[in-house]
């Protein structure tokens, strides 16, 4: 039986090589935006389940890769522009804009790279969406934005872009530690009728084809992401939701503690990569 297993995996390898090279030439490509090379592959830090951390960009077709290499072609940049307009727009009972209090949005450089993070004010592990809504309700006297609304996606994209090229740097110690552990537990738990864990696909099988999909490590350093399939920008939670649904399972609610714990854990698996917001995927 051992012998046949070796024979079959060799055959699978050959089949894999031919399909992979025919359709996906991109795994060795470099992501260069405005003359600057972004790290898309790096040796994994100690304690990582990977030997190398690899950006999801590397697993995409040449055409999809190209869209992220030029800000004029990147459809996510339309949202960034809307986010920059919102940054200047007064709203709420205080009649203030984000800019009135925070000044230049560039002041938020590095914030996306540290998300999600423990917030003393909120008394919880906070996502970017929650920090923005906290400021809207507490500081502006404005209505919170819905998680997947155009406004929220535009603002998380505009703030995220300020960290583009900066290394992923999430804190997993202190009050964040129990969240991180919960996230890890979820990551390795199998769900749904198909009985898959995140790790089954994104750790054990990245680089392999799952029908027409080239499996990546499932990194979130490029979120919010512009997905051609969605025809728009989407949040981390939207992607996680879709992946759990693909197990024929019930996804966690958007913004739930489970989602936030998973976000922290997945973000930490990207240590070594840099922020790519807004990324483009198929």
């Amino acid at each position: 039986m051992k012998r046949t297993m070796i024979a079959t995996s060799a055959a699978a390898l050959i089949a894999g090589l031919t399909t992979a090279t025919a359709v996906f030439a991109g795994e060795e490509d470099e992501l260069v935006i405005d003359g600057e090379t972004l790290v898309t592959k790096a040796p994994a830090p100690e304690g990582s389940p990977f030997s190398e951390v690899i950006s999801g960009w590397r697993f995409r077709s040449d055409e999809t890769q190209a869209l992220q290499m030029d800000d004029f072609d990147n459809p996510g940049m339309i949202y960034v522009d809307q986010g920059l307009d919102l940054w200047e727009a007064a709203d709420g009972s205080e009649g203030k804009s984000c800019a009135d209090c925070h000044g230049d949005i560039a002041g938020f450089a590095g914030l996306r790279a540290a998300m999600p993070k423990w917030s003393e004010e909120l008394g919880t592990l906070a996502t970017m969406e929650e920090l923005i809504n906290y400021s809207r309700t507490e500081h502006m006297g404005a209505e919170p934005w819905k998680w997947e609304s155009n406004e929220m996606l535009s603002m998380t994209a505009a703030i995220g872009l300020q960290s583009r090229g900066m290394p992923v740097d999430v804190a997993t110690d202190g009050p964040a530690e129990t969240w991180w552990e919960k996230g890890r537990e979820i990551y390795y738990t199998r769900f749904g009728q198909l009985d898959f864990s995140c790790a089954n696909c994104h750790e054990d099988n990245y680089g392999n084809m799952l029908r027409a999909d080239h499996l990546s490590q499932g990194q979130i350093n490029g979120f919010p992401v512009y997905r051609l399939k969605w025809g728009g920008l989407g949040s981390i939670d939207r992607r996680f939701k879709g992946c759990v649904e693909d197990t024929r399972g019930v996804p966690f609610a958007v913004g739930s503690d489970e989602m936030k714990a998973l976000e922290l854990y997945v973000a930490s698996r990207g240590t070594g990569l840099v922020i790519e917001t807004p990324s483009v995927r198929q």
Binding site: T8, A12, A15, G192, L194, D195, M209, L210, R211, G249
Partner: protein, 155 residues
């Protein structure tokens, strides 16, 4: 269409069995499948499967969806074969019928911790979608059809 026809065929088969007053073979329930070293000797339906329908179940995304993970030259007409599992060319030369049945019913009995789903297992994991609770991915007769189909994959 195909599935309706299939149900009808079975109806006729059962009617025929009844007419001959043979004892009707009971379908084995998911929890009652008897494994020996990962293999399942007994047909889940008591009868032989239909290889042609098995091929359809093999490629159908909502049924076997085996192509998502396995390459198989016999279904070269279907685009995009996955490479998560080994190619199934010549699989009947490598495994007996009972082993193939065991692999389709619950491959975890042979490959511990494998990503391959158990196709005749109820609620294998938490958070199963509501409308699927208590249901297996394939029916007993679909499992037998797939096994009959795999038996045709010889080199």
């Amino acid at each position: 269409m195909m599935r309706n026809l299939h149900v009808k065929e079975w109806g006729i088969a059962f009617a025929a069995l009844f007419a001959l007053s043979l004892p009707a073979m009971a379908e084995t329930a998911p929890g009652d499948v008897a494994f020996a070293d990962g293999a399942v000797e007994q047909s889940l339906t008591g009868g032989a499967g239909d290889a042609e329908n098995g091929r359809a179940v093999f490629v159908d995304r909502s049924l076997g969806n085996c192509v998502t993970c396995h390459a198989n030259s016999d279904v070269a007409d279907v685009p995009f074969h996955g490479e998560v599992g080994p190619t199934l060319d010549g699989v009947a030369d490598r495994w007996t019928e009972a082993e193939l049945r065991g692999l389709v019913v619950n491959s975890k009995m042979i490959f511990e911790g494998t990503i391959m789903p158990g196709f005749y297992v109820k609620d294998p994991a938490p958070r199963v979608r509501e409308d699927l609770v208590g249901k297996t991915i394939l029916t007993a007769s679909e499992v037998e059809d797939v096994v009959a189909y795999l038996r045709t994959l010889k080199e």
